[in-house]
Symmetry: C2
Subunit: 143 residues, 2 copies
DNA sequence: TTTATCTGTAACCAAATTAGTTACAATAAC
DNA sequence: GTTATTGTAACTAATTTGGTTACAGATAAA
């Protein structure tokens, strides 16, 4: 099973807000046309990003603004904002406690699953929105 | 979104085969009663583990056996056997190429997503079935 | 050789999740 | 006042998951 596209859409959304917030109102419609989806899908994600304290969504028709410095917004922050996973790995319910394996499987495995999830999260934490902004600026200037 | 319980069931299954293969036929029914699910669910996973070269499923009513040393079977091997994910992260389709962000988002983000997936996999690769066997033996001896 | 057991697989189901959609009240800009 | 936008509810279609029944084919045990 996979991590949903809500995450990549959220990153895309924040980049659009960063690049366009000074020149125009960054509305859900504008974002949707760059992401290529429905504006309501974007509004749901904007709602998550607002809740996480990464953006403000201005009332009326004023679009959204970043309220944190891009170098303070990591991919992990974005991931947690939109995909609020507590534990990445599912575990089968109620293994048989009469069995030596069933009785101990949780204790034996849980720590390793937490480690793996932490490794994923630590990796995401290393990259910031600013890093992506630089990469895009570089690509655009090369043209 | 989460990683399915197929993974934890597969680990449970391999541990059962290890601990019981000498004393009884480890059948899908026996495994299912320890995992607490339906035997067909187990057979599907046994099929994956066989395909991955981790076990042999003996014909008739002879159960399954490990065909690799537990210290050569990592959690990553098991994960890949049952959850065959190519890319862990979904990415939204067809971002708008007319937009500087839409045009570059894939290039900017893909590498970081691959890094994060690799970090998860490297972590899973560190633990072997033997490690779990030791942990269970330790727990059982303490009783 | 007959009977019981087990695997492999197809077919189906219910529940959950996802992305997408329509609709509309509330709000602010123009 | 009119228009544009947000926030949210409600609905849909598609997909995935775990569970289930059914059964042909293979093997062990009697």
């Amino acid at each position: 099973m996979k991590i949903t596209s809500r995450f990549s859409i959220a990153v895309h959304t924040l980049l659009l807000i960063y690049f366009f917030q000074r020149s125009r109102n960054v509305t859900s419609n504008f974002i949707a046309s760059s992401v290529n989806t429905n504006p309501v899908v974007i509004r749901r994600i904007l709602s998550n990003l607002k809740e996480a304290g990464l953006i403000e969504v201005l009332p009326g028709r004023n679009g959204s603004k970043l309220i944190k410095n891009p170098n303070k917004i990591s991919l992990l922050d974005i991931f947690k904002a939109v995909d609020s996973i507590d534990t990445l790995f599912n575990f089968h319910d109620n293994p048989n406690p009469e069995c030596p394996v069933g009785k101990n499987i949780h204790t034996a495995l849980d720590g390793h699953l937490i480690d793996a999830q932490k490794a994923l999260e630590d990796s995401l934490a290393k990259t910031t929105l600013e890093d992506l902004i630089k990469e895009i600026n570089q690509k655009e200037n090369l043209l």
